[in-house]
Point group: C3
Chain length 234, copies 3
C-alpha cells in the first residue's frame, strides 16, 4: 500500500495537468496503519527498517510535492493512518470519523505517527492520544487542528470537491510556489522566514500568472491563467 501510494504520488507529480490529490478510502476505515503481520520478528529487522523508511518517505513526499494533498476521511484513522491524516495539507472529515494512535496497546508506541501529529495538534492532546491510545472524535480533531473541516457524512464528497475545485481553478505554478515556500519558511526562524518569503513574493510577481491575476483584478475581470512558470513580458 505504501509503495503503491509512493509510486502514484511520484508518477502523478510529474504530470503537468495534476492540480490536487485527494486521498480517500472505501468502507468504514480510512486507514488503520501498518499491517502488524509485516512487523513480526519473523519478517526480520531489515524488513522493518524498510517499512518505516518507506512510510516516512510517503509522509514527507505528501508535503514536498508541488500540488496540495487533501484527505477525505469517512471513518476510522489510526496509527500510520492518523499520521497520513496529519501529513496532508487539508483534511475534510465526516462527523462519524475518529482518530487514534493505539500502538501502545500492542506494545508498539506510535513514535513515527507522533512526528506528524505532534506538529499538528497541541502537545498535551498528542501525548494523551499516544499514552492512552483512546480515539478522539471528529469534533475534537477539528478543535485541535488535526482536521480542517468536519461535515455531515452526506455532504463529505461535495464539500471536499468544492475545495478541490477551488484549488484546481488557481494558477498551478502560483500554488506550487506557495506550498513549497510555506513548508520551507515554517522550518526557519521568523527573520529568516521573512527573508525567504519576501524573495518569493517578488518572484511570484514576476510570473506571467502573477501579473495576469493582478491585471484582471484591477480590470475587474476573470484572470486567464497560463499555468506555466513563464515570466511576465512587460
Amino acid at each position: 500500500m505504501l509503495e503503491s501510494l509512493r509510486k502514484s504520488i511520484l508518477s502523478e507529480a510529474d504530470s503537468e495537468d495534476l492540480r490536487v490529490i485527494v486521498i480517500s478510502a472505501n468502507g468504514p476505515v480510512f486507514s488503520s496503519g501498518h499491517d502488524l503481520k509485516e512487523l513480526t520478528s519473523a519478517q526480520g529487522r531489515e524488513h522493518h527498517v524498510q517499512v518505516f523508511n518507506t512510510c516516512s518517505e510517503v509522509m514527507t513526499l505528501i508535503q514536498d510535492i508541488p500540488v496540495p494533498v487533501m484527505a477525505m476521511v469517512n471513518g476510522v484513522a489510526t496509527a500510520a493512518g492518523c499520521q497520513l491524516v496529519a501529513s496532508c495539507d487539508i483534511v475534510i472529515a465526516s462527523e462519524k470519523s475518529t482518530f487514534a494512535t493505539p500502538g501502545v496497546n500492542v506494545g508498539l508506541f506510535c513514535s513515527t505517527p507522533a512526528v506528524a501529529i505532534g506538529r499538528t495538534v497541541p502537545r498535551k492532546v498528542a501525548l494523551e492520544m499516544l499514552f492512552t491510545g483512546s480515539p478522539i472524535s471528529a469534533h475534537d480533531a477539528l478543535l485541535h487542528g488535526l482536521v480542517s473541516k468536519v461535515v455531515p457524512e452526506n455532504r463529505l464528497e461535495e464539500e471536499t470537491l468544492a475545495i478541490a475545485e477551488r484549488i484546481c481553478w488557481a494558477s498551478q505554478p502560483v500554488v506550487a510556489l506557495g506550498k513549497a515556500t510555506f513548508y520551507s519558511q515554517m522550518a526557519q526562524g521568523r527573520d529568516a522566514a521573512y527573508a525567504t518569503a519576501s524573495k518569493v513574493m517578488v518572484e511570484n510577481l514576476a510570473l506571467r500568472d502573477g501579473q495576469e491575476g493582478i491585471r484582471a483584478f484591477i480590470e475587474k475581470r476573470e484572470p486567464v491563467w497560463s499555468h506555466t512558470t513563464e515570466k511576465a513580458h512587460d
Copy 2:
C-alpha cells in the same frame, strides 16, 4: 501606509511615556493588505523588493519594540492585513470580523502573510486559508488562536481599552523585559529557553519595580511603580 506605520512605531517607541499601541481602522475594512496597483510589473522589480522588505520590517518591528501592540479589528482583514493581525501581541475582534489570505485568487500567493499566520494558527488551518483564499469567521479565528478575544461590535472599544488600561497600569520596564524575553526564548529550544528566562527572572527581581511589587503584595497595598530601569537599593 507601511512607511507611515513604520515611522509612527519607531518614533513612538522612543517615547518614555508610551505603554501600549492599539492599531485600529475606520470603516468596514481593518486592512486589505497591499495596494495591488503598486505590484504591477510597470512599477519594477526594485519597487516590489522594497515593498516587501518594508512590510516584513513593520511586522517584525511590532514584535520587537518594548511595548505591547494590540489590534482592534472591526471588519475585514485580508492578505497583509491578516498578517498584521497575526503579528500583533493581542487582538480583540468584533463578531462580524473576518480573516482571509486570498492572494491565490489574484495569482499572488500570500507567502509573506503565511510567515505570521503559520506561526499563529494550526498548520492545516493556515494551509486551507492559503490554498482556497476563503475567509474564516471571528469565531473560528478565536478557536484557532488568530485572535485573543471576540466581542460584540458595541463592546469592542470598551473591551480593548480595558486590556490596554491594564497594560498601562503595569510597570513599563517589567512589561518591556517580559515581552522581549517571550519572543527571544520562544525562538530557542526548551533548555536554552529556560536558561534565558531564569536569568531574566533574577534581573527582573533586581529592578526597583520588581522589589516594589513584591513588597506591596506582602504589605497588602497597591504598588507605586517608578517605571524606570533603576536597580533596587536594598
Copy 3:
C-alpha cells in the same frame, strides 16, 4: 516544595515499579507558584538564582523522566503553578479550575512560566495571559491546549485514575521509549525527526514486549508484558 518535588521525582524515577506520576493538591489552590517572600532582595541574588534554577530543573525533569506525569487540577493554578500544569504530559482539570500568569501585577513578569506556556497554547493566548495577568477558565484552557480534559469536579478523580490505569496497564519500557522519543523528535526538524522516530520503531519492534503485543493482537488475546527492556528471542 520545589526541592521536595525534585527529590520525589528523582527517587521514584529509579523505581522499577513506577508507571505514572499524578500531581495533585489539597484545598482550593492547585499551586500559586513561588513564595514571594523568598524573592525579596533581602534573600540575596544567589538565592534567587538558585530558586529559578531548581524550578527550571523540576519542570524539565517532568518531561525527561521515563514515566508519564499527569496533573489533576481542582482549583487555581497561577504563575509557576500554571507552569507546572503546562509542563506535565497530561492534565485533567475540574470545571472550576482557573489558570493565570499574574506576575506582571507584582512587578515580576512570568518569564519562566512563559517558557512552558508559550510551548503549550497559541502565542496570542499566552501573551494576553502574560500582559494582563487575567485568569482563563478551564474551558478556555482546554480550547487552547493547556489542559487535556475538563470534567465536573465530582468526576475528577475517577477520570484521572482511569487514564492513569490505562498507562499502568501498558508495557513500561514501551511507554518510556515513546515518551523520550516524543520530546526528542519534537525538538528536531521534520526530516531529522522522522530519522529518529523510524529508528526507534525498529528498536521497539525488537523488544520482547513489542513482539508480544503484536503476537497477542494477531492471536486475538490479551498481551502478557514482561515490562523489561529485554530483546525478543525469535
